[in-house]
Symmetry: C2
Subunit: 361 residues, 2 copies
Amino acid sequence: NKIYKVAVLPGDGIGPEVMAEALKVLDIIADKFALTFDFQHYDVGGIAIDKHNHALPQETLAGCECADAILFGSIGGPKWDSLPLDQRPERAALLKLRSHFDLFCNLRPATIYQGLQHLSPLRSDIAQQQVDMMVVRELTSGIYFGQPKGRELNNDQEVAFDTMRYSKSEITRIAHLAFLAAQKRNKKVTSVDKANVLECSRLWRETVDEVATSYPDVQLEHMYIDNAAMQLIRKPSDFDVILSSNLFGDILSDECAMITGSMGLLASASINQSGFGLFEPAGGSAPDIANLGIANPVAQILSAAMLLRYSLDQNAAADAIEQGVVHALQQGVLTKELVPSDEQHLAKSTSEVGDYIRDYI
Amino acid sequence: NKIYKVAVLPGDGIGPEVMAEALKVLDIIADKFALTFDFQHYDVGGIAIDKHNHALPQETLAGCECADAILFGSIGGPKWDSLPLDQRPERAALLKLRSHFDLFCNLRPATIYQGLQHLSPLRSDIAQQQVDMMVVRELTSGIYFGQPKGRELNNDQEVAFDTMRYSKSEITRIAHLAFLAAQKRNKKVTSVDKANVLECSRLWRETVDEVATSYPDVQLEHMYIDNAAMQLIRKPSDFDVILSSNLFGDILSDECAMITGSMGLLASASINQSGFGLFEPAGGSAPDIANLGIANPVAQILSAAMLLRYSLDQNAAADAIEQGVVHALQQGVLTKELVPSDEQHLAKSTSEVGDYIRDYI
Ligand SMILES: CC(C)[C@H](C(=O)O)[C@@H](O)C(=O)O
Ligand SMILES: CC(C)[C@H](C(=O)O)[C@@H](O)C(=O)O
């Protein structure tokens, strides 16, 4: 019986408390599906800066290296915002982990759950339609990492520059994952670019067209980023898989998340070619509500489900968690922020939601 | 009495028919405010490609050069989409005009009008709040124009690249215009960037902070582009002036437009340091509804108002047009796409809307 090594990086803010609920759920999954997990905890983010002077200490990185997957909480907070950019939690830990492990594929599902349509900021007739999208974002290239990047003096004037760069192979590998994802979903890929302006987007479009020929059962459409930002609001139910570059995917995945109105319910997977990955809630560390027992653990629990599915290939176990979550949502087992103001007394605590999902499983 | 020379570039699709309504309105404005206009018509876009083999013929450019302002319709359509990128209407005409005249400042107002809140795709409680934003977008620099931009072979692999570049003075001049606009509005600027990843955004943020010190009466906030894409949907009434770079402004101004639900009502001004500018509807050329007499002329009419305000400094005349438009909207004088499906028989034609606004003025 294989022992699955999971590096657990709770991080800052609400990270530790929602992580506790995810581990609770994984414990029952271990029992029920006869899986053996070896959880090793490591510091990351602001707490790691405070304790070890680095947002991603050597020990943490080494721990991740010998693990089968990383379960990540969330990092950052005002306390560390004034550090130089390169030392800040987001750059020093998150971007470092992505590039170190070549986690080039970010998967961000965004679903409006039955019964929670009223949470969406969209008009009710739009939110009532079936909204179930998945952003497939390229995560280790593009303008985030392209060189040169810096500043120079030009005739005594300060000038800053960044480079957007994509190779054909980088586009090819992420496009394949988007089409494969679409085959298991509603068989449509919307590839988002700015091909009327950017050379990178022209190569992107050409390459995606080529990859598409291997997936005749999947419908492909191309859309400019400005138009996509609009159409997502007008008719999100038209989208299935949204494929895009690093920067555009950053914008669109957050826009999609907001459209569902429930950031606390959304998970994010960042994986590499061999299936190794980092799994985290889509929302932030929310330091303002940390330690109050009111943070929503669902996104962290769904991150654990994605970890099972994508890194450990345990689809039945992942399904069980997802069903548990859907059941909890349908039964109105919800944390404070999802409960209407006149029913706040019915809100459940972080651990009550975790318990409910565990017990259902 | 000064003669105002206006270069009129109707372009493609619905351009010519909505332009006719704007000119109708400017004629009555000329009478009422004792202004003298000299309108010279020129071909631009697809029609110019068909007639002169270039989307921006020399004669058109020369005509714009000796004008006080450009009133622009809209360009492009499927007929010209397969041309090489550099010859297509958007690049060859629109981007060329922007850079030729150094139209570095794009102003895109986005308002949800009283009585038209139901058109917004946002939830009614959100759309009912007072939504009145203005995107101030840098329009002649950034990744649209930065060099180098192109393709190369790297170890037999195709690689594409674009350069995002901003100088301090480019940021300074657009920031001043954003703060000046905010002083005449609700005294708040939200500057949008991606300073946690991009060097250009760090220079942007620093420079905007410096410019802000000259406007102590205006509140400044910085926001990451991914977060802005979300907050605009969650609470658009929190925004007043949104300041951003070329690419981010492209995305945000279209997102803001969609939030109002009435693209056909929104105008766009692109101006340079001396007040010369190009004024156009925010929507596209809509070739599918061209020549049916159903296109909404309001955006084109409001473009004429912006032309009067920003290039000709005729604020009273601009106010008169804007009041005429508000009156028409309030009286339900609307084209087809704004009318609920069970009241389509009440829809007005393109020229009826133009006549109504003219007569009111
Ligand atoms: C923190 C930041 C660098 C990061 C990104 O832009 O990738 C975040 O927004 C995300 O999407 O995970
Ligand atoms: C046509 C295109 C190049 C243009 C842009 O991106 O600037 C358009 O989207 C706009 O916003 O005017």
